[in-house]
Symmetry: C2
Subunit: 161 residues, 2 copies
């Protein structure tokens, strides 16, 4: 199968300068502000985006250069199949985050709930639409017993910000 070539359309800025500073998962990034600097040539495509409260950012885990098919994920102490986790080290190191849109000014999108490292190359922006993107009655496998920890983490972060 042919290689797929993507060209960054912008850069994501955040307070996280090193991987070890990062929130360990998106829910822990409540209240963290950052921005997307879109390359000026794409500005026209941002029209109407400001009507959405949340957007998907699809980006390159550019610091990730290798992977294992079994990983011990955050919140667990057992090896799990890589595709059942959101670990950044993947065969194709591609990241997906839903962030809160704060404001757009020219080619700069101010965002909140950022769990992305500063300087990350942006691949795409899509609007988040609950009617399409929020299925009901979900099962979450090995994470089931960690539900409360996901929520607790979120709260802890709120208290410390």
């Amino acid at each position: 199968m042919k290689t797929i070539n993507f060209k960054p359309i912008g850069i994501i800025h955040s307070p996280f300068k090193k991987p070890e500073d990062m929130p360990i998962q998106p829910a822990a990034a409540d209240g963290v502000y950052g921005s997307v600097e879109l390359l000026p040539e794409y500005i026209e495509g941002l029209q109407d985006v400001n009507g959405f409260s949340h957007i998907y950012l699809i980006y390159h885990f550019h610091l990730s250069h290798d992977y294992n098919l079994k990983v011990i994920p955050f919140l667990d102490n057992t090896h799990r199949g890589l595709f059942s986790t959101r670990a950044p080290r993947r065969p194709n190191p591609i990241g997906l985050s839903i962030v809160k849109l704060v404001k757009i000014k020219e080619n700069i999108i101010e965002i909140e709930n950022v769990d992305i490292i500063d300087g990350t190359p942006l691949i795409d922006i899509k609007p988040y639409v609950p009617e399409m993107d929020a299925p009901e009655n979900c099962k979450i496998g090995w994470l089931t017993n960690h539900r409360s920890e996901i929520k607790k983490l979120k709260s802890d972060k709120r208290f410390t910000k």
Copy 2:
């Protein structure tokens, strides 16, 4: 900025052989079955995935070779900024779908709610976790007045399948 090179990790199979057969958006793909054929070298990474009811598929819109920064989206008759739409013709033609996981057997993942064309190259699989992926109090911009149409479409499809 450097080009990003991804290598397909599998192929998505669906009943849709041509773009014109496709459901025009994911909510319209209720009850449509398909499968993911993962390259055998990645099988180990599928462990634990079967505990999740829904997974993200990230894939290459391989038939899309150009784009406009303003498009008239489905459900509308006004030009909208590309990044406020889910149109497949994008600067980086990358697709994102949440599908229902039916069953995994070796390297084959049977899936439901497939809005993807047959033969699409797969880039990544991630578990869908509502606690991380379903923000509340969302605004959906130009789609606001089309909410009922999104839901209606879903129903129409149910009646015809």
